[in-house]
Structure formats: structure tokens, C-alpha cells
Symmetry: C2
Subunit: 329 residues, 2 copies
């Protein structure tokens, strides 16, 4: 056999070292004094401070096939923000402050510009949430992905005082449901969108402009997942529980939180479905019930609070509104 | 357009719910009293206890293209153990006790038996390390992977007292390097192995038996990444630093830890390279230097300790031996 090398088999260790140098300053831009050491060790170090009885809250998720949209539009910064914000939103449903984030990226071969945009988006979202981009892994995986595609996964750890954890068991009939607007599809429903517009065969629908979107379909679809932490930090003490509206839609995610014997009644007439969802529904002739099971329909996060606190919370968020109430089941 | 559904686009929400039911009891088998609530919320909850000045240490990694071997041999329990143990080994290089683990699995469609074996392997490795399998995500990704392939990523969080963190700056000339044996390739070098044996074209070499392996090539290659936490817990106070031998090989990983001005001198004659590495080297006509840069060559973890502590540590680990020493650079 001719002499075989790792490089010839598809793994470039020197490229991996160069990528680390590229990522370091981006990660460092997110570091506060609680980050010990520097990036590049075997593990990231974060000193937990100012908690008496800390509960760590963690979540992981990928961006699903939204990453195919990013590849087709050759724009990666946006899904970098997605992968951070979706996981931060998950941990803050427990009342936890985000502490640090790690990313995992796997590619056929390491594409420097793509990685720089991805990590740049992650670092921006981390800075906005006061969360450290503490570490990650960039992996070269040959013969795994279809052409152009890659994998992007995020992992976040937050913390809350045990006594300040949000507690859905305190939910009662009569509590108000307050909706916070989503910025678009966030990170759910992209397989359905790809099928409806036949995007695997033809990308041209992405470049079509719509008046009601104020831009192209592709731009609206790539809009990053909104991060709610900076908004919610101040009102946490007045909230009983939160539902992050992801896969499964509004009603299923509300049910995950609502105690047995009660039900979260959504008043679907309380808001107008944003245009992006109506465009998708019309193009795919999708049942309304299916739309509501797959997409967030314009509401990215729902807060549960006592009815007497609703007006106070609404004053803090001019964009929010009452989307329903808790009732006996 | 005919009526379009999420199921027809490749995402089965009911299958996702069934998979959650499958995973729950496996995850619960790893829970201690520090895990609050139950699996299935938006984030996993872990109460941090018995630390005065806790430093959280975290790491993420995939199993690389070892997962292709698992697919070809249709055995998944082993790489479930890999994805846990490799990340635990990373965080324990800081002196941290593993606390909890989260997994991310992405597949074209959810294959129940495969998921059960994967999560079963993860739960087993978590129990061995006293680490909670706190949560995870199982994602359906159509049109991303080549046929049969999937993605598997792990995240682990550990903790150490700040004053007990391993501190490589205390490494001095004359310190001993103690090697702990690996169980095989662990999770590095599989792209090279696939190329050498031309496995993308023909899987038959995996079924060839070798006397020196005491089994087939495939069995030796799938041997799970060894987890060192249960071994090391007792000797941590006598160790200055640790290097987990992963991508880049022994010397590069030792350099990551060794302070400037010093060098970690490996005595390659102090052990016999295990047969699996010799078989790979011969089959691929690989340079010895390249072998040492890609594979662990039989040593999975290297401990740095003062020379006077070496014999004490060696007594605790009958399998360990002195693999070198620290010298002036």
C-alpha cells in the first residue's frame, strides 16, 4: 500500500489548529471574571459565585434543518445566534440565569469563513445574554454529511437559587398567559418549509420578495431565534412558569408546564398570525391545526403569572399581550 | 398543492414522543438526589451541593467517524459509552468530579432499537462514573446525513473546589509522567482507519479475526473509550496535572499541559504498542511519527506528579507505568 496519512484520509490537524486560533478571540470577547484560564484546555472553567443554594439548569439542542437554509443562502451568522438563543430560552424557563455556552460543529472539512461567521454569531448572542462562550469542539467528519451540509449543536448551563426556581405547581385557574412575540420560525418547522417550497430541488423561492415580509422569503426564514433573557431578567420574581414554544407548537408546550387538572386556554384571536406563517400555510395548503402543532405562529415564549400581575408585566414589555388564561380542565 | 403535513416532510412528532418514553427510565437509572424534577422539561435541573468555592468544568465532543463503524457493525451500545467517557476524561483533567451529562442525537428518522442501545450505553457509563444523564435532545434531520449515518454528541459538566483544581503551573523538571492504558483507539483516528482498510467500499476486513487481537478487527475498533474517573478519584490530591490523549496524539496533548520552558519527554520504549495499532500501521504503511500524532498508541491518560509520589500512584494502579518525565526544554 502507498504510505497513508491522516491528511489524505480527510482530517487536517493543522487546519484544526488554525481554526482554534480563529475562534479564541471571539470566545474571549464573551469572558467575564468568572471564566478561569483560557480557551484551548481540555475543559472550560467557570467559577460559580454569589449563589447560596445553586441549582444548575442545562439544555442542549441543534438548529435542525434550518442549517440547510443557511447553507443555501451562504449566511451563517444568523444560525450562530439561533443555537445560543434557543438553549438559553430553554434554561430560563426554570428561572435560571445563563452562565456559559459550549458549541459543537462538525463539517466535512473546516471552512474558515463559515466557521468565523458561525462563531461570530454565537459570540454576539452570548454577549447579549451575559453568557460566556466557554468552549466547544470543531470536528472534521468525512463521509458523514450530504454535500455542503454540516452539524451545529449548542449546550448551555444556567443557574438559579433553589428557592427562586420557577415552580409550575403554583399555577392556578385564572392565571394569565402572556405571550412574547417570536422573530419568525425560530428553529422549528424547517423540514416542512423545505418540502412545501420544494427547496431541495430548487432554491429560487428563497429569493422571491414579498411585500408583507418587507424582504425575501429567505431573509424571513433565516431571522435568528430571539433570546428572551435580557427582557425577562427584571420580571422573573412575578412569573410562575414559562413555556418556550418549540417543536410541538403552542398548545403542546403549554401542556408540558400546566399542572394536571388545569388547562392553558389559548385565545388564538388575540393576535394576528405574522405574514411568514400565512405565506407558508397558503403555499403548502396546510391545515390550521397542523400549522399550530409545527410552528410558533408568532409567539416565542409564554409566561404564566397571577392575573393581578399581568398589567405590571405588560407595562415592562410593550410588545407582549395576554394570549390566554389557565382554566379548570 | 395537495395538503402538506409535517409527517410527510420527514418529521414524526409522535415518534419523537415515543422515543422520550423509551429514554426516560434509562436516564432515571442514573439519577441521584441532586437531580431535581424529572426528564422531559425544557432544561435538566441539578442541585450543586457540598462545594465551598465551586468551579464548573465542562466539555463537549462527538465520537467522530467511529459512529460509522458502529453503523457498519450495527452495534451502538459501545459508542454510547464512548461519548460519555471521552467527555468525562476531558473534565477530570482539571481535577473535576463529573456531575451530569447531556446527549444530542440527530438521525434521518428515529430508529428505536438503535436509540435504546445508544442511550443504554450512555446510562451505563454515567452510572459507572456517578454522573447523571440529565437530559438531551433527539432530533429528526431529513436530507442531512448520508445513508445510515447519524450524529452523536455529548456534553458533560463537572465541578471541583477552586483550591483543588489541578494546576499545571506546578509542574517541574524531574516530575514523573504516569501512563494509564487505553482500551483501544478510544475515539481518534477512525478516518485514517477507514481509509487504510478501504471500509467505505468494503466492510469485510472488519470481520477478519486476528490471533493477536483475540477477536475481529471490528471488535477491537469498537472497544469503548475507557473512563478514568473511578480510578483517579482516590489519587487526585497527589497529581499535578493530567493530559487526555486524544486528537493530536501523546506528545501534542502533553505539550498542551506542560508549562513553557519545560518539555514532557516520552520514553516510547517503556511500553509495547498494543497489537491493534501495529495492525493499522502495517496495513496502511503509516510512518511511525504519523501514527503517534493520530493515535494514543496504548496510553489513554497521562498523569503528571512529583517523582516521590510516583511509586505510591503506581501501587494504586497495577496497570499503570512511568511513560516519561518532565525535563528542561
Amino acid at each position: 500500500m502507498p504510505r497513508m496519512t491522516y491528511l489524505a484520509s480527510g482530517v487536517d490537524l493543522d487546519a484544526a489548529a488554525r481554526v482554534k486560533d480563529l475562534i479564541k478571540p471571539l470566545a474571549r470577547s464573551t469572558f467575564g471574571p468568572q471564566v478561569l484560564g483560557d480557551v484551548g484546555l481540555f475543559g472550560g472553567l467557570f467559577q460559580l459565585q454569589n449563589f447560596r443554594e445553586p441549582v444548575l439548569v442545562s439544555s442542549t439542542d441543534g438548529v435542525g434543518t434550518k442549517l440547510k437554509l443557511a447553507v443555501w443562502l451562504d449566511q451563517y451568522r444568523s444560525i450562530g445566534k439561533d443555537v445560543v438563543n434557543q438553549s438559553i430560552n430553554d434554561v430560563l424557563t426554570s428561572g435560571a440565569r445563563p452562565l456559559f455556552f459550549l458549541d459543537y460543529i462538525a463539517m466535512e472539512s473546516l471552512l474558515t469563513e463559515r466557521l468565523e461567521a458561525l462563531v461570530g454569531g454565537m459570540a454576539e448572542a452570548c454577549r447579549e445574554a451575559g453568557c460566556a462562550l466557554l468552549g466547544g469542539e470543531t470536528s472534521q467528519m468525512s463521509d458523514v454529511f450530504k454535500p455542503g451540509v454540516f452539524e451545529l449543536v449548542g449546550f448551555v448551563v444556567g443557574a438559579a437559587e433553589r428557592e427562586a426556581l420557577l415552580d409550575p405547581s403554583r399555577i392556578k385557574a385564572g392565571d394569565a398567559l402572556i405571550g412574547l412575540p417570536s422573530s419568525g420560525l425560530h428553529t422549528n418547522g424547517y423540514s416542512l418549509v423545505r418540502a412545501i417550497f420544494n427547496l431541495e430541488e430548487d432554491r429560487s423561492p428563497l429569493h422571491r420578495a414579498y411585500d408583507e415580509l418587507g424582504g425575501t422569503l429567505g431573509e424571513a426564514l433565516l431571522e435568528p431565534h430571539r433570546g428572551y433573557w435580557p427582557l425577562l431578567e427584571q420580571v422573573l420574581p412575578r412569573i410562575k412558569a414559562m413555556a418556550h414554544i418549540t417543536g410541538g407548537g403552542t398548545e403542546e408546550n403549554l401542556e408540558r408546564v400546566t399542572p394536571r387538572g388545569l388547562t392553558a386556554r389559548v385565545d388564538w384571536s388575540s393576535w394576528e398570525t405574522p405574514p411568514i406563517f400565512r405565506i407558508i400555510q397558503d403555499a403548502g395548503n396546510v391545515d390550521l391545526a397542523e400549522m399550530r402543532r409545527v410552528f410558533n405562529m408568532g409567539v416565542g415564549m409564554v409566561l404564566f403569572c397571577a392575573a393581578e400581575h399581568a398589567s405590571n408585566i405588560l407595562r415592562a414589555f410593550p410588545e407582549a399581550w395576554v394570549v390566554g388564561e389557565v382554566a379548570e380542565a
